[in-house]
């Protein structure tokens, strides 16, 4: 993807076709696989969507955002409030819109913070929303949690798959667009980017809102899978860390890096979390440390190093 512009030549359309074929194959899964594997695949797709949307903004810019859980939680509460009166696709869009409105408002005042200040703020946002929702619920609604309408696991599966497909396409187009290039420029040197005439605030704000749209939409869908939610479940800060780790582990330079990371960790979680929850978290933490220390450009970065010389020289966001 070293060459900007939308022209697709033969060589570049091969991975494109593979991804499309893989998504189509996954779409037929509910016909053959057990109900359990459909549920499991929905989780994998959810993680893939979350880590992809994390990587969309944080990958090129280097702004580590831990607000994923906040936007995911906003989506969850959208479903909790309107789940009984709206169909699932409408809930997705509503969750996405609410999230990006909040992201826009928050981003407009915080995206001038840099480095750890921004990260602290985004992390604080999750806790702030959690405690605020808890307080409003107990004070005004007189309850701690809410029940959420269910739409069945197959509907959830297809909605998540549609979201992931749309997100892959959006991320792909974003990378090749002027905005995508501007984001990478900000990641390398924000001052230099501003000097060459990029409106850094507008670009960051756009990417931040866009990525939070997908997080909110994912939350709205996944909420219908849990019968009951409360602020502690909806605004679980682990949902901020998992996508970040998955994206870092998979590598944010490549479009499919976060997806690869999501598959690995979703499988690991599936194997360990019910039987050895503490052990899972220890392994999770250890891999997180090891991934940052030994694989700065992720798993896909390791793969690329050897055979990729003939294909592309400079990946986006790393050049």
């Amino acid at each position: 993807m070293g060459n900007p512009g939308l022209r697709l030549d033969m060589k570049k359309s091969v991975p494109f076709a593979i991804v499309a074929a893989a998504l189509a194959a996954v779409a037929f899964l509910p016909r053959f696989a057990s109900a359990y594997s459909v549920v499991f695949c929905s989780s994998v797709i959810m993680y893939a969507a979350l880590s992809l949307s994390y990587a969309m903004f944080s990958g090129p810019t280097g702004y580590v955002s831990l607000a994923t859980a906040a936007f995911f939680g906003v989506g969850i509460y959208t479903s909790a409030f309107f789940g009984k009166s709206l169909p699932l696709p409408a809930l997705m869009i509503a969750g996405g819109v609410f999230s990006s409105v909040i992201a826009f408002a928050v981003g407009a005042i915080t995206l001038r913070l840099r480095g750890v200040y921004f990260t602290i703020f985004t992390f604080g946002l999750v806790e702030l929303l959690k405690h605020f929702v808890l307080w409003t619920e107990t004070t005004f609604a007189g309850t701690r949690g809410r029940t959420v309408a269910s739409f069945g696991s197959v509907t959830v599966f297809y909605c998540m798959l549609a979201l992931l497909t749309a997100l892959l396409l959006a991320a792909f187009l974003l990378r090749r667009s002027r905005v995508g290039k501007a984001l990478s420029a900000i990641g390398e040197s924000e001052d230099a980017a501003a000097h060459i005439g990029i409106n850094t605030t507008a670009v960051k704000l756009l990417a931040f809102s866009l990525s939070s749209f997908a997080m909110g939409a994912a939350g709205a869908v996944m909420a219908t899978r849990w019968a009951y939610i409360d602020p502690g479940i909806a605004f679980n800060s682990l949902m901020s860390f998992m996508p970040a780790l998955m994206a870092i582990f998979g590598g944010t330079d490549r479009l499919l890096g976060p997806v690869a990371g999501a598959i690995v960790f979703a499988a690991l979680e599936e194997q360990l979390i019910t039987r050895f929850p503490s052990l899972y978290m220890i392994i999770f933490g250890a891999i997180m440390i090891a991934a940052i220390l030994f694989m700065p450009s992720g798993v896909t970065g390791l793969i690329r190093r050897r055979p990729a010389k003939r294909k592309e020289d400079v990946p986006v966001g790393d050049s």
């Binding site: 580590v64 913070l113 480095g115 750890v116 990260t119 703020f121 405690h131 220890i282 933490g285 940052i292």
Partner: protein
């Protein structure tokens, strides 16, 4: 009325003393080693649980535990920096990238330490009773252990402040916090100073943990809340500023005490509102450079 005010103020000072200790620790780690250590609260938890274990199993006086727990917790912090963060510094040369990655590494550490503790001690709250008799003070009644904690926190803070300002090592630390590269050029062993600072940060957290275990019930999940508070105080006082952390700690303790008196469930919300407002108005903190 006056009695209520006295109660709220002294309660706030006690919490403020603890906050000041943990925030100065975090401030050391960020100010010199450039690591915003999110696993900070886990060292508090370790200090509290070591004390609880020593007191209940061997009947050791919790005050003596400060001396017993301090060296191993310092060494743990020192060793962590020598192994993990030193390598991270070698791998990432860009300082902005280092700060982001160091924070993510500390999140990883948090998960590891917390869950090892969870496997060892379980999730149920633990506690013991120590000096739990009341003392009258200007008409208001306080339990003796709380006043002891306040006195101890103030002493440790003062000792630490003197160490930074009077000792040779303290001078090296202050030099390194101003400009690590320049300090290295003047012959300060920068990696060692950074590891020592990380160790001292862990040590202060550990001492705070020992003190907390005397007055509150403890559990293995307690770390995160204190980490958040420490981050808030440190941002409030200016990242890396030790006097800022000291003042910020007591200020936040007082504010928290007042809010808790009015509406206890909004205490954390109030903290977040303060921090967010401050980040927006003055991102470098009250005493930040």
């Amino acid at each position: 009325m006056l009695l209520t005010v006295l109660n709220v103020v002294v309660g706030g000072l006690i919490m403020g003393g603890i906050y000041a200790l943990i925030s100065m620790g975090l401030s050391m780690q960020y100010g010199v080693a450039r690591i915003l250590n999110v696993s900070h609260g886990e060292f508090i938890m370790l200090g509290a649980f070591f004390t609880w274990a020593l007191h209940t199993a061997a009947g050791i006086n919790p005050l003596l535990c400060v001396a017993i727990c301090a060296p191993p917790i310092f060494l743990l912090g020192f060793a962590l920096h020598r192994t993990i963060y030193k390598r991270l510094r070698d791998v990432t040369r860009v300082s902005g990238l280092f700060e982001g990655n160091a924070m993510l590494v500390s999140f990883g550490l948090m998960f590891v330490i917390k869950n090892i503790a969870l496997m060892r001690w379980g999730s149920s709250p633990k506690g013991y009773s120590f000096m739990a008799y009341s003392v009258e003070f200007g008409g208001a009644v306080f339990s003796a252990n709380r006043l002891l904690v306040l006195a101890f926190a103030v002493c440790v803070s003062a000792a630490f402040y003197v160490f930074l300002n009077r000792s040779r090592l303290g001078k090296a630390i202050r030099a390194a916090s101003q400009d690590a590269q320049a300090a290295a050029l003047f012959g300060i062993k920068i990696n060692r100073v950074m590891a020592i600072c990380f160790g001292i940060g862990a040590l202060l957290a550990g001492i705070a943990g020992v003190l907390l275990s005397m007055i509150y019930q403890i559990n293995t999940a307690m770390g995160m809340n204190y980490t958040i508070i420490a981050i808030i105080v440190v941002v409030l006082g200016g990242l890396g500023s030790i006097p800022g952390s000291l003042i910020g700690g007591f200020a936040l303790g007082l504010i928290g005490s007042v809010v808790a008196y009015i509406e206890p469930s909004l205490q954390l919300v109030a903290y977040y509102v303060i921090i967010m407002a401050l980040l927006l108005v003055r991102p470098k903190g009250i005493l930040g450079r």
